[in-house]
Amino acid sequence: MTARAGADVPVEASVEQVRAQVAAWLAENWQPGGGGPQWRERLVDSGWAAPTWPVEWFGRGLHRDLRRVVAEEFTRAGAKPAALDVTQLFANTILAHGTDEQKRSFVRPLALGEQQGCLLYSEPGAGSDLAALQTRAERDGDTWVVNGQKVWTSGAREATHGFLVARTDWDVPKHRGLTFFWLPLDQPGVDIRPIHQVTGGSEFNEVFLTDAVVADSHRLGEVDGGWRVLQTALGFERLIMGAAAGGSSRQRRPAGGGETTLADRQSPWTRQIGGADYVELAKKVGKADDPVTRQEIARLYTLEKVNAWNGLRARADAGRGASSPLASIGKLAMSRIVHTGVSVTTNLLGTSSVLDGDTDPVAAEVNRSSFAAFVTSIGGGTDQIQRNIIGERVLGLPREPEVDKLVPFREVRKAQATRRFS
């Protein structure tokens, strides 16, 4: 680790101070067209790669509101990547729950891109009910032996490690017997298979774990304390999704650049008919004057707009430090938008919506989007789960009776633990 220039910017630095610091550092270090490993290393060690991280851990200890300023300056200079903090789900979680040794070993490689992570949470039998996962980790001296199946893992084929949650105690209620690991993927016990999806792609994988091993030094948090670590990691994930979803269903490219990578992958609607414009499509197919079409398009436009405004309002609320119900409703609202969008565009295309592939690329894109809409209404918590969350956490309505809440997991009725899709 080299000495870091600019570590003198105080935590409560003003916008203009930060802007000046970044500009100066970039003027000195960034060369247009650069971006190789050397640059990356210099960037990480400067603390500007993740300015909100602590000074002692590759950051500059900036207040989170200032991150955007850093990102803006990097964009202005054409330098990237920058202000990765938010997207560094893995590093952030390790910073929150790891030992100093773990921070030393994992965070810098992650910031440098030498290590990449994927999420080994969901299982065939644990989707909405994540705490019901049945992958087991059994201790064998200083290592753990892992057996089970994970699924819906995006990025698994590019990743070096995975955030693994596994069951380590079957005799306590479901939330209390889980442990969290940073599992190396390059080992014989890990078999990654892409899932052939209806959209035609294979972004998701299933991961079969057969006597896979992970050192106890790769355990994050306490044994059987994995649920708490998972909540932290999920919180960082929501932050990324929230930053990416923003509000509009249209492709949104915040100044920081690169921030939407994960969200793009998880919410393919953002690629919906190439950002095509349904107003233009309506004109093209000669339905601009059709009153039914006009009502439909006005409704869709309205849903998009109010969701965008909700996003702005949520940020304004957050800026004032006020708690806001708005942060919780975006995903459900987006689900309605994308399904409505599919319906509107299908109606616009009419008979030609039955076509696909090269025969009719516009229809093909709408059809693909029609499946992608279900990724929004199912993935990352179904619409039904979202309504529970809104009802309980925002409106304060009472929870349902939970039949498995206090029962040792061994005795709980469980779903089938494995199922091969690939």
Binding site: I297, A298, R387
Partner: protein, 394 residues
Amino acid sequence: MLTTGQYLGSTGRLEATVGTFEFTDDHEALRSTVRAFVEETFPEAQVRRLMAAPSALERPVWERMARELGLQGLVVPEEHGGAGAGPVELAIVLEEFGRRLVPVPFLSTALATIALTGGDRAVTAGYLEAVAEGRVVATVALAEDDGGWDAAGVHCAAVSDDGDGGAGDRGGWRLTGTKSFVPDGMDADLLVVAARTPAGVGLFAVDGAADGVSRSELEVFDLTRRLARVRLDGVAATPLSAPADTAAFDRFLDAARVAVAAEQAGGADFTLAMAVGYAKERVQFGRAIGSFQAIKHLCADALVDVESARSAAYYGAWAIAQDSPEVATVAPLAKAFCSDTFFATAQTNMQVHGGISFTYEHPAHLYYRRAKSGAQLWGSPRANRDLLATRIGL
């Protein structure tokens, strides 16, 4: 920061956003003050008493609203005795009034005030002062018997007394025609009337006591908003601005749409709170009904709509405040969406309450009535959506 932010609008182009949602401490203080006033002055029992009375207007209360709270003068310029506030502040007040179905002619007067502030001050200064002081109740008379809410629906004829009747004519005018669905039309001292000249549609001030004005109360479904039919028979009138300025009329309509939307958002918000409150308290099958997904999810969906409605109304208010070109799309959007949301929420509230919602004693039906009627007044959701479609390029 947000006021200079940018987002990618639905047309795929980068649009500057208007500054929005930056509520200040003053805004919060205004909201608290109005909420406390409304809760104290218009509890449900009082609303029901005024519903049953020959008129919902009680002049002492009206004067106190003006004197102590300055509500009628809120958007009146300071030089005419008002607070000089804008559409955002008005939206906050209307939202609070909407929450409690306050039956006094505040919305009517506010709409008239919007029209007056948009007019020629040489003409409107006196009216604005009288409004701000609580001396007069005002309203706007837009639609006629056929129930159209835009310029095309205006048939009432404005004839110049002595001028040429052209766009620049500021002489005396006389109005003849029948306006209907006039909110608080029986109580209004001042009527702002939409009328047609040979050159276009404009707004005219008419003294409610003038010769040739005759009014009759309409029987209406909404028990907390009274409507009248007003016959004008060669009544003396003063144009608020150039008498055929249809563009000014359209601007006024957009401002009115947003004001009404704010009131509806308030009604929707309170109605949802009522449903949620009942769902927490009402026990069936040994547990609160709000613990059942059927009820919980109804409420969750309603929350998405209600918060969206509030966002739409606020965004509209800020767009007007900043004279943004977005007003043209936000205004019909907000009116349509807030109308639909309030009505849907009022229905959800009825359904969640079960049997007691169809007792006259329970307030659920009062919100349902307000929502069902308000959706049609100032243009139906469908008409507003069609206008939105036009304005986004269809």
